[in-house]
């Protein structure tokens, strides 16, 4: 308790600049917390979506109680999921979202589908579902709030429930005898979950770097005073306790603020469409156990980081007051890194589990973090040796003297360079899937009914007033009747779909373009996700560069002030500071991009494409500008610190 009180005094008595430091830390911790909650929220949200969708992927069972068929139709370029159900027994439990098992002839619709039927002309959509009695599917049965779903009740003998699927189809699952609505996650849902997990890993490391940097900011300026406390006899335990208590006090406030910020942001985030629709806000709210976990973990990590920052003071009272030649970085770091980078592809290709995949991303990432400080030291030695002018010499010696601190400034951006390299390689090229026709509507029919169906299709087209011709193709059991429309215009295609509805029981008329619909959506989502991950990591990285730049000025304020008193131009100090960041950034950032590309290549062998290249270039430019900007922002701080005409030991 005494410790806590003492640190509170220290914080309050520290003056404006200390409070500014604490304020920055608070904001940084809040941002970290909000992003961590976002990371947790997005992963949980994909899982929740996957769970709610599972019942629509019927699993064949021998002790069947019902028959279920699922197909996708389309309207206005959106997918409609039509689930057809027939009970084999009385009193069955309904599927999720329905209040009872649908009776034969009943049509249940999702709220979004009901609204769309209201809005669009009947010949585009409404006539596909003739009997509507206001039966609404609840949220528990929907992937997202805007999803278009219809559940149609059938008798077990209905032709829609008895046809045999002759070929694998992306858009339909033929009648399947099921024992319940447990279902299984769809391939798409699993894919999205994995992507979300990778994105999380990519985001979380810069985030932790950021948290660490901000924790150190509370320690900046304080280390000297704590060293003085140590000199007058405070025990190491007291010093550690004070530092940790102070940093954690700020961190708890920051974490609470971050939680509130995330809560406020959820409605906005929920409006971002992914995988075909926006989100139920509660999907993005992680459960209390996650929130409590984050609220405990963040302050603990911040406290730990602050304590590590003060280790030198604790180890020796003179550690800060008296600088010595630091011990060299060990070559071991290089060995560890090479091992990590080499191990990653082996791990990735060895097994196909999600854990292995995450490891394959995380290992090279980790290796960069291990190697970073060592490389900074080497860069420093080269810079110092080759320096002609004072700025380069100062920068080089500084890098040699404290490579970890220089590394902290650039680490976030460097690690984001890895993300950019990784993603740049994995970014799908636009037009990857080719451009399939939307004006060729196909229906699968049994061989015996090809001619009859083709005739009827022609008739229906004519009576709907649509221009087009009818073709037949295929052999054996797998026959297709194709309606070739004169146009690919969406409203006309919708009308044709509606005209052809129910022509073959249990089948929707779909085009080759429809087959690619899900794939297109996923590729678009990968691009969106890429941009989100890169934006978040870059913002976080640049913010940590700024914060670290500020705390490094505070750490060295006395030296800077005395140099300036003795007539050193501010511009020389500034150039030295710039070189201190930009040289390591160029070398390490470049290296990280290459390692990122090699990790990406290990997961998905392929060449870098145009849009990936663009993403990468934008990242490189943004990263550099951002770090330069962050450094420039701390210039007024440098000026104010060195303007004090009478620098005191503290």
């Amino acid at each position: 308790m005494r410790t806590l009180e003492l640190s509170w005094r220290l914080l309050r008595g520290g003056g404006r600049r200390e409070l500014l430091g604490a304020g920055l830390t608070l904001v940084a911790v809040a941002v970290c917390t909000a992003l961590l909650l976002f990371a947790a929220g997005i992963n949980l949200a994909f899982d929740a979506r996957s769970d709610r969708e599972a019942w629509r992927n019927p699993v064949r069972a021998s002790d069947a109680v019902a028959v279920q068929a699922v197909r996708h139709g389309f309207v206005a370029d959106r997918s409609i999921t039509v689930v057809e159900l027939a009970a084999l027994k009385q009193g069955l439990a309904p599927p999720p979202g329905l209040s009872r098992f649908p009776a034969p002839g009943e049509v249940w619709t999702s709220p979004a589908l009901a609204a769309l039927i209201e809005r669009l002309p009947a010949d585009r959509l409404g006539r596909r579902f003739p009997v509507l009695a206001g039966l609404v599917i609840g949220d528990e049965g929907l992937i997202h709030p805007g999803e278009l779903v219809a559940v149609v009740g059938r008798a077990p003998g209905d032709p829609a429930m008895t046809w045999l699927q002759s070929a694998e189809s992306l858009l339909s699952t033929g009648p399947t005898r099921i024992a319940g609505f447990g279902g299984e996650p769809s391939d798409m849902a699993v894919g999205y979950s994995i992507l979300a997990l990778i994105a999380t890993v990519l985001m979380i490391v810069p985030l932790l770097v950021f948290g660490g940097a901000s924790a150190r900011l509370t320690v900046a300026r304080r280390d000297r005073r704590l060293a003085a406390l140590r000199l007058v006899g405070a025990t190491p335990g007291q010093v550690v306790g004070m530092t940790a208590a102070e940093a954690m006090f700020v961190a708890v406030l920051g974490a609470l603020l971050g939680t509130v910020v995330y809560g406020v942001a959820v409605p906005l985030l929920a409006g971002i469409p992914i995988a075909g629709g926006t989100w139920f806000a509660w999907d993005l709210l992680p459960g209390p156990q996650y929130v409590i976990g984050v609220l405990l973990a963040v302050p603990l990590l911040v406290g730990l980081s602050a304590v590590v920052g003060l280790r030198r003071v604790v180890v020796s009272p003179l550690g800060v007051a008296k600088r010595e030649t630091p011990p060299g970085m060990r070559f071991v770091r290089v060995v560890v890194t090479v091992a990590l980078v080499a191990a990653a592809p082996a791990v990735a290709s060895g097994t196909a589990s999600v854990a292995a995949l995450v490891l394959a991303v995380a290992l090279p990432f980790l290796s960069i973090a291990v190697l970073g400080p060592w490389v900074v030291g080497v860069i420093g030695r080269i810079t110092a040796r080759s320096a002609r002018g004072p700025a380069r010499l100062l920068a080089g010696r500084r890098l040699m003297d404290d490579p970890r601190s220089a590394w902290r400034t650039v680490s976030g951006v460097v690690l984001t360079g890895f993300v950019a390299g990784f993603i740049g390689l994995l970014t799908p090229a636009s037009g990857l899937l080719g451009d399939e026709s939307a004006g060729r509507l196909q229906i699968e029919v049994p061989a015996a009914r090809v001619a009859e169906t083709a005739d009827k299709a022609g008739e229906r087209l004519r009576s709907a007033g649509l221009a087009g011709r009818v073709e037949t193709s295929g052999k054996g059991d797998h026959r297709l009747v194709t309606v070739v429309l004169a146009t690919e215009e969406t409203a006309t295609v919708d009308r044709a779909r509606t005209a052809l509805a129910g022509l073959a029981p249990g089948h929707s008329a779909t085009s080759p373009a429809d087959d690619q619909h899900q794939g297109e959506v996923m590729l678009a989502d990968v691009r969106t996700g890429t941009i989100v991950v890169l934006t978040v990591s870059f913002l976080v990285a640049i913010a940590s560069a700024g914060i670290t730049a500020a705390s490094s000025i505070l750490d060295r304020r006395q030296t800077y002030a005395l140099l300036r008193l003795a007539g050193t131009p501010l511009s020389v100090l500034d150039r030295a500071r710039r070189a201190e960041t930009l040289v390591p950034l160029a070398v390490l950032g470049g290296g990280a991009i290459l390692i990122g590309m090699s990790s990406g290549a290990a997961l998905a062998p392929g060449a870098l494409n145009g849009s990936g290249m663009t993403t990468l270039l934008v990242c490189v430019v943004l990263g550099f500008c951002g770090v330069i900007g962050a450094g420039a922002l701390s210039r007024p701080l440098l000026r104010s610190v060195t303007d004090n005409p009478a620098p005191r030991p503290d």
Partner: protein, 228 residues
């Protein structure tokens, strides 16, 4: 302007809010002269030094270096002046911890545009005479307090300044080391033909100087201005 006058402060007034740090001070520094400034803590010694050295602008009065007004110069010019015409020794902390001793001494030369190799060679020449032989490659953290101050003295003198300012340069040292350091400072400054303005609490140190001024509440005590 009297014979050999290098630096002249007249009617210097400096206020910090309501507090008056300097209340009208006149001080003339002749070429090669060493002046000790004494006085209790908070009496305005550092402020006087800062005004003379172009670190702070006085609120009133003027400062001239060889006939040129210093107090009206812009910060950039004053900064250049401090780098080329003045040398500074502070209590501690003016050496860059990450630079070797010789690089710390060479730094002012490099700032003035001297190529690095030449600057370091020139810097090394100071080590022997100041009793620092063999310390060239040490870091400030690996030097004793007295050694570090001697490196700082070399750094202050390496550019051949007109005036060296020292603000309690031995305040952090024990008495005997302090005396040694102070003697080296005074002698080295004299050898180089530079003037010295040194703030000190030690009457013994003041005795080695050509003159002593006593500052009290922002004024110079006339009675204490003893010429030797």
């Amino acid at each position: 302007m009297s014979e050999g006058m290098v630096l002249h402060g007249r009617g210097l007034v400096k206020r910090f809010g309501p507090a008056v740090a300097l209340a009208g001070v006149e001080l003339a520094v002749r070429q090669g002269e060493t002046i000790a400034i004494m006085g209790p803590s908070g009496s305005g010694k550092s402020t006087l030094l800062h005004c003379l050295a172009g670190i702070t602008k006085p609120d009133e009065g003027e400062v001239t270096l060889l006939g040129r007004r210093v107090d009206t110069m812009r910060e950039r010019e004053r900064s250049a002046l401090r780098r080329t015409r003045f040398g500074f020794v502070f209590q501690f902390g003016q050496l860059l911890p990450e630079l070797a001793a010789e690089e710390n001494v060479a730094l002012p030369l490099m700032l003035g545009g001297v190529p690095r190799a030449k600057a370091v060679t020139q810097a090394r020449e100071w080590f022997g005479p100041l009793g620092l032989g063999g310390m060239e490659h040490r870091r400030p953290g690996e030097l004793s307090g007295g050694q570090a101050q001697r490196v700082a003295i070399a750094r202050a003198l390496v550019t051949g300044p007109a005036v060296v300012f020292a603000d309690e340069p031995t305040g952090a040292l024990d008495q005997s080391t302090g005396h040694d350091t102070m003697r080296i400072l005074v002698e080295a400054t004299r050898r180089n033909g530079a003037s010295l303005v040194v703030v000190t609490h030690d009457p013994q140190v003041a005795r080695w100087c050509d003159s002593t001024v006593e500052v009290r509440d922002g004024r110079i005590l006339p009675a204490a201005a003893v010429a030797r």
